[in-house]
């Protein structure tokens, strides 16, 4: 399913924990129901984002991998 993000955050090249920190700040600025597209190249970002969304309650709508890029669609609850 294709999601239309309200914001896009590119965390390519950032190492742990910066993608999570940047994602948290970006999601904080969204309204409930809005969607953030986050791109990361950190190989640990997939389990990190799954754990983060479980912990915070924000919905991880979709995950895609494109080469070394990990792409996440997150809905603010």
């Amino acid at each position: 399913m294709a999601y239309e993000p309200n914001e896009v955050l590119d965390c390519s090249g950032m190492s742990c924990p910066m993608p999570i920190l940047k994602t948290k700040k970006a999601v904080d600025k969204l309204e409930p129901g809005q969607i953030l597209k986050m791109i990361a190249t950190d190989p640990g970002s997939k389990p990190d984002m799954e754990a983060w969304s479980k912990k915070t309650g924000h919905k991880l709508l979709e995950y895609q991998q494109d080469g070394d890029k990990h792409i996440f669609f997150i809905e603010k609850v």
Partner: protein, 131 residues
């Protein structure tokens, strides 16, 4: 996520205490506590960092910008993020005194504390990590 306290039914926030005992002599062990602290904050966990033994060197203004280990963000960047999210920095008073570190050389926002303060934080925390 908040959870319900078992004794009185009150809502308790999660709190993590991180004890840091390594300094610039081991940049990786000095950096990882800041990684864990900021990741916890991003997950809505309250964090208290406490610096003991050689860990107190990290709280010197001139030192904090110098410690960097491969494949991690610099401590200075992590510290700034930590403070932006309201993190607390507690420093062992006797550890500072024995190393002859002047109080005015410590990073802004840090607080000299005694063991009783740390025990209070640890016993009221939901988890404690020691590095």
């Amino acid at each position: 996520m908040p959870k319900t306290g078992s004794k009185r039914g009150e809502i308790m926030a999660e709190k993590l205490v991180i004890l840091v005992t390594h300094g610039p002599e081991d940049p990786e062990m000095a950096t990882i506590p800041f990684v864990m602290a900021t990741a916890a904050q991003a997950s809505s966990v309250e964090v208290v960092m406490a610096f003991q033994s050689d860990g107190v060197w990290l709280m010197m203004k001139e030192m904090v910008g110098r410690v960097h280990t491969a494949d991690f963000p610099p401590i200075q960047e992590l510290l700034s993020a930590y403070m932006e999210e309201g993190g607390k920095l507690y420093i062992c008073g006797p550890c500072v005194k024995s190393r002859k570190i002047a109080l005015e050389d410590l990073v802004e926002g840090s607080l000299i504390v005694s063991a009783a303060t740390l025990i209070g934080e640890i016993t009221s925390a939901t988890s404690t990590l020691v590095y």
